[in-house]
């Protein structure tokens, strides 16, 4: 069986989505940039591999949260940039509040025991 257990996939996917949305909320960015920024903001906890990044980006674009355009990277290469749409911003808000709720609840639960 090559696929990881479904529970961890779901968790990872959700986490990756919200991280990408958060990172793109500041400015449009290309794939590698997103990957590096995610590593940076999570202090290296999440290393986003291309194998997860591309499917996530394309899925989110098809869902209408992101749109993309071809632009020029910092060292003058042609690169595909992603930016948040209105729907993406709404989504980020929802996800953020949900994460806040979950992490509060988790922290609470773990402290109590």
């Amino acid at each position: 069986m090559k696929a990881p257990p479904p529970s961890s996939t779901a968790l990872l996917q959700g986490t990756l989505d919200v991280l990408i949305l958060k990172v793109l909320a500041l400015e449009p960015m290309h794939g590698l940039g997103i990957s590096r920024r995610v590593a940076q903001v999570t202090s290296g906890t999440f290393q986003v591999k291309p194998g997860s990044l591309f499917p996530a980006l394309h899925r989110m674009e098809e869902a209408g949260w992101l749109n993309s355009f071809w632009g020029e990277s910092e060292n003058h290469r042609r690169a595909r940039f992603y930016q948040l749409t209105q729907a993406g911003r709404r989504r980020l808000k929802e996800e953020t509040s949900q994460w806040a709720r979950i992490s509060a609840a988790m922290a609470n639960a773990l402290e109590m025991s």
């Binding site: 194998g51 499917p55 098809e62 990277s73 290469r77």
Partner: protein, 882 residues
Amino acid sequence: MFLWHRIETLWRNLAQKKSVEDDLDDEIRSYREMLEDEKARYGAGARAARLEALRELGNVEQIKEQVRDIRLGARLQIIGAELRQAWRGLRRNPGLSILGTVMLALGIGAGTVVFSIFQASLLKPLPFRDSDRLVQLWETRQDRGIDQASFSEANFWDVRAQSHAFEAVAAYHYDEANLTGMGQAEKVTAIEITAGFFHTLGVSPVLGRDFSYQEARSGWNSSVAILGNRFWRNRFGADPKILGKTVRLSDRAYTVVGVLPPGEPWINDQIYMPFGYRSDANRSSWEFAVIGRLAKGVSAKAAQADLEGIAGTLAQAYPKDDKGIGFRLTPSSTWVASETTRRALWVLLGAVMFLLLIACLNIANLLLARGTARYREIAVRTALGAGRARLVRFVMMESLLLSGFGAALGVVLAEAALQAIQTLEIHGIPRLADAGLNVWVLGFAALIAILTGVLAGLAPALRAPVGNVAAALRDGDRQTGSRAQGRLRSALVTGEVALSFLLLVGAGLLIRSFTELMSVNRGFETENRLLFSVSMPGSYWEKGAGKQFLDRFFERLPAVPGVIAAGAVSEPPMEGVDTGMSIDCVSRPRGSGPAPWAGWRIVTPGYFQAIGLPLLRGRAFDARDHWVWGQRNQPASKRHVMISEQLAKLIFPNEDPVGRNAILWKGQGNSEAEVIGVVGDSRERGLAAGPALTVYLPYGDAALPTQFVVHTRSNPLALVPAVRSIVTRLDPNLPVSDVRSFEEVVSRSVAPQRFNAILLAVFSGLALLLAMTGIYGVLSYSMSRRTPEIGLRVALGASGASILRMTIGQGLRPALLGIVLGGIGAWWLSRYIAALLFETKPFDLLTYVAVAGLLSLTAAAACYLPGRRAMSIDPAVALRIE
């Protein structure tokens, strides 16, 4: 907005696949280049940077595949690709594909035909508003064993006045009339209806108006008429200015005031006249059919209770006519198909589903055999990471494709078969002409196609070698047929044989029942008998005009060559209205139950000879006998009747009935008459109904039998022109109609039974054929696998005969198990067919044994060829293969 985005995306993914793919390539390349830049920036050399970048990027093809998988419409594309692949697979195996398609086409086609008939006659609602509230009302006299009779006129008016359960109640009375003044006289159906009849049905005229209540009240028989749609089309060329015109019916003029919309045939091809309330309405003659529309929110049960109350008052108020009266309601759905017809159609639908199931099992078997050939291909796919779901889909796609082709061909076959059946105009299958490939039927065909596709693919899909890839890859195509696989295929054969057993037993029982029905003692002779009717208008029933016509006709007829005997009767045998009376001997011993109810027929003296009823005692009617109501107050000895044998035994047990007096219309007219003769029993009410009790009354001026029976020397229909010319010469105003041979009547009366038996026989024949292919396929496959083993046996000295025995034994085992299981299943299911059987037990041992024998023989025959092949195996060759 959001939806639009999705549609746009989907469109781009499907239609501009290339540009989407290029875009992805570009994106990944640019990613890689930027990675290289980054590595170089941190000091790696160009070569090292590229290697590091590649390592971090990982498997590019896999990334692309993952991106493709999440794309909108990805599933569609995969399915499309799988369909193409399945199509290629099928093309590589034309034999199997064609065989499978034909099998499924036969199954689905048969299913579609049966369902289209089923849908037209059972599912399609009546073309009346809220037809579930429409009911038919009947009188009953449970004390005399009569549980369904028409209404008397007076009882109808009382029910209409007193009941509260109905929104509307109406009565009608079937009659015949001669349409004159438009060329040759023609007999038509004229129906007298009470005002509100069409309102009760929920039909309003397309032209003109309905009868008004004033019209009905102004007197019996106002001279207005409404035309049925077909009547209007056929006889008046759909004349749009028909309103106000005059129609002459049996010498009376009627003004047309309305035309009905097209609809069910039985309200379409007739003319309607109103009849109104009269205070002196008859209470003893049951002549009126009554329909009612239940008031909103009133259940049939509540209406029944309401009617019971009315029955109580009527029985008290009119003890002479209404003693023991009750009422019964039947739903309007039975107007189209009777209970028996419904049952028969259900049985046929069930049978055809069994046939389809057999076809499914057979396809599964074929695909399994082929699946083993593809074992390796599937193993490779598994090794390359195809998930189980995907493999199942891949295998099933083939069976679905097959069933799709099968359905397409099946629908074409169904259309052809249905047209053929419709041209036969099989009597007794309601709305057969309406059956067709409408949306419902096509939907049904699509549904069963998908179901059969999934079902047929299930076994092969589950057998896909997911678990043990390594073994599958190593063994490849050679060592494919595992033992489990062989067991599965044998189980499929067992299932096929068991289902075939069910179908064969069903067909066998119906055929046996049908032969019983046809060979039953009919009483009358049906061979070489011509039947026709001559209808005489009301004026012929006065002053002897009609009797004179009859006498002159029977004087002239014997001169026609080929005529042996001729007579006339008031109701045509097997097809007539069953006019009846209560009859008894004069002094019935107390406590011996109620008087029997017997049908009465008015006959001419020649009738018995013409129809071949034997005179058992006494004498037949002759010129001395007159109509029993001919003269008031004549002594009983002047009134003569003849009775049928069983009736004689019932009312005159242990004595000679000839010369004794009987009371006719007991409880109503109470007139005595002398029995002068006894004739044999006959199946007056149809072959299945049993011998009827009948009283024969002599004809007279006011009692005219209008149904003629002529016994001829050869083909009865050859005499039709001669008969017509005699009638026209005697009286040009009298139309000859309903010309047919008696055999035709009998054949028509059993048409539904014959249709069911033939259809089931065809289904079971197909089932047998499929089962045979199944057994053959499994055995020859297993023999080819066992070639080396058999070669070894031969080398060690096994004789050809013993090899043949072994092979046939192996092939027969699953078949015999199927026969046992089928026998149990048939025994359990046959109760559902019992209602359709005539003098045949559902567990008819002979049928079961015959079916078991037939199936065993078929199985043995299917085993023979592979057995012969096994026998001729050359050990030298066989062992070398190993």
